[in-house]
Amino acid sequence: MIPVQFYLVISTLLFFIGVFGFISRKNLIGLLMSIELILNAVNINFVAFNRYLFPNQIEGYIYSLFIIVVAAAETAVAIAIIMNVYRRMGNETVKSIKELKN
């Protein structure tokens, strides 16, 4: 059987890929996708922990379901806001939201 650490490795990599993506992408949608990567890392964690460490519970699965739902809600709102940004600024790169500063 694949040991639980392997899942942890995957989820950690995924987490940091998400962070890296958030920092380096130009497109706001890209940023949003990076957040989703991080959330997926979290979900992997939950499911893997549940399966390997506490096999007679189902809490971990339920958590990941909730996370998926909430993340979807968040994404929906974020996309709506990004569309608004696009309409107002004419593009949807991170550069377009740099007016408020100092």
Binding site: I38, F46, F49, V70
Partner: protein, 485 residues
């Protein structure tokens, strides 16, 4: 299933009912009856506030804390009190935004109220949570509608930009927090109930790592440095009443929840190093937060931005209440939030009032305000004094109590640094006073008559921050309620 446990959730249920009634009302109100929506919402929400307030004060006091849904939901007097505080604050924000809604926000009046209440509902859950999952859901329920509220002013670029920044950073921070929670889940025995987590929390490096991830996510909400960068931009871009809401309610609720979780889930009494580990971290965060907030506040020219940084440093002061972990600590923190609520909302009430009438929010625009609108200027000055903690205003007392509680925990150096910082803060709060009273302006803001709703709100706030300090019963009652939590 025991249905009587729903009775414990009275505040949530009455808020949810208000929300649903308003939603349905909005659905079926015709074009003509639209104008009645706003009064209806105000009245309903006021009723909700009043009912809960009476319930809180009217003797239905619980002894100790009660749990519902096998520990998922926790409530006690102090929880209910904090919820009532938030109710009052939200009502004040509604009062301030009445005129703005009528004029600038005609098309989205219903959304404004519904989303506000939805956020409030999220905060309720956050406060009463007994489990990380409920906390997360509460947090997101509070923050997602918040983002739409920030973006409510669709015609302004700033609003859109602020909302985008808010939702992206909030999403990021909550996912980082979730990563922490998932690690806690794995390392603390496969349960996310606070009572289970704390049993297995032994401050191993892995657990501390998880805890830090979690703390970062909450600290983002309270806007502690270095997780504060979104604050100023969002505050500046958002509609003023939303900014007021963000700066007080969102912060207060998150701070309270933060406190409860840190002491419930991460402080294993048997293992002393558990709370040593996070109080040390918090120590540094508090010092940096207060200082950075102060330093950035000094050169702000936009009042909303200015108050954003001031609220960052105030958040640092609020966190002082966490250090002691006693009933006094919790009581002084709740008291601080209460005073801060009135003071900051008073300041924002005036800013939003002036913005409605003249469209100006720059500090230079306030030059000579005393000449044209003396009452506004005086109230603003008093609010600034209270924020700076000059006796005998309530702000002084709240600072005093929270310092005392931290000193009780032996954090003398921290209290000293915080005290030293109040001197810097005095400087920039006086800048506003100076602008209004001393600077002359060729084009001062014209004399105006404010609408009744804002006047009521501002009066309530003024009375609040002037006299809260003198009514010692409130503080004593809060302390009494905080025992045993």
């Amino acid at each position: 299933m025991d249905y009587s446990q729903f009775l414990l959730m009275k505040p949530e249920i009455s808020l949810a009912l208000t929300l649903i009634v308003l939603l349905i009302a909005d659905l079926f109100m015709g074009e003509k009856s639209k104008q009645y929506f706003q009064p209806l919402a105000l009245v309903l929400f006021a009723a909700h506030t009043a009912i809960n307030f009476c319930d809180c004060c009217g003797g239905s006091c619980m002894a100790g804390q009660s749990e519902a849904f096998s520990g998922m939901y926790i409530t006690s007097n102090i929880h209910v009190f904090v919820k009532n505080m938030l109710n009052v604050g939200t009502l004040l924000v509604f009062l301030f935004s009445f005129e703005w809604n009528k004029k600038e926000n005609k098309e989205h009046i219903a959304e404004f109220y519904l989303l506000m209440m939805a956020t409030l509902f999220g905060m309720y859950l956050m406060i009463s949570c007994g489990d990380f999952l409920l906390f997360y859901i509460g947090l997101e329920t509070a923050s997602i509608p918040m983002a739409t509220l920030v973006a409510l002013n669709k015609k302004r670029n700033e609003s859109a930009e602020a909302a985008a920044k808010y939702i992206l950073t909030a999403g990021f921070s909550s996912s980082v927090m979730l990563f922490g929670i998932s690690l806690i889940y794995g390392s603390c025995g496969g349960s996310l109930y606070f009572c289970d987590v704390v049993k297995n929390f032994t401050a191993e490096p892995f657990q501390i790592l998880a805890m830090i991830f979690f703390m970062a996510g909450v600290a983002f909400k309270i806007s502690l440095v270095p997780f504060h960068l979104w604050t100023a931009d969002t505050y500046q871009g958002a509609p003023t009443s939303v900014t007021a809401y963000l700066s007080v309610m969102s912060k207060g609720a998150a701070a309270f929840a933060f406190m409860v979780i840190m002491w419930k889930a991460f402080s294993n009494i048997d293992v002393k190093s558990t709370f040593v580990s996070w109080t040390n971290i918090l120590w540094w965060i508090i010092v940096i937060t207060i200082t950075v907030g102060n330093i950035f506040a000094i050169r702000q020219k936009n009042l909303k931005r200015f108050l954003a940084f001031s609220s960052i440093s105030q958040a640092g002061y609020i966190m002082l209440g966490l250090m002691s972990g006693t009933a006094e600590g919790m009581g002084s923190m709740v008291y601080y939030i209460l005073v801060y609520l009135f003071t900051n909302l008073g300041a924002f009430g005036i800013i939003s009032n002036i913005e409605d009438k003249s469209g100006k929010v720059g500090m230079d625009d306030y030059n000579g305000l005393y000449e044209t609108n003396p009452k506004m200027a005086v109230v603003m000055m008093l609010a600034m004094f209270s924020l700076a903690g000059i006796p005998p205003f309530a702000g002084f007392w709240s600072k005093f109590f929270i310092f005392a509680s931290a000193a009780q925990a032996g954090e003398y150096l921290l209290v000293f640094l915080a005290l030293a910082n109040t001197i810097i803060s005095l400087y920039y709060y006086l800048l506003v006073v100076k602008a209004m009273f001393i600077n002359k302006s060729d084009t001062p803001i014209a004399t105006f008559k404010s609408d009744k709703m804002s006047l009521i709100g501002i009066t309530v706030c003024t009375v609040g921050f002037l006299f809260l300090g003198f009514i010692s019963q409130i503080y004593e009652q809060i302390i009494a309620w905080s025992f045993g939590i």
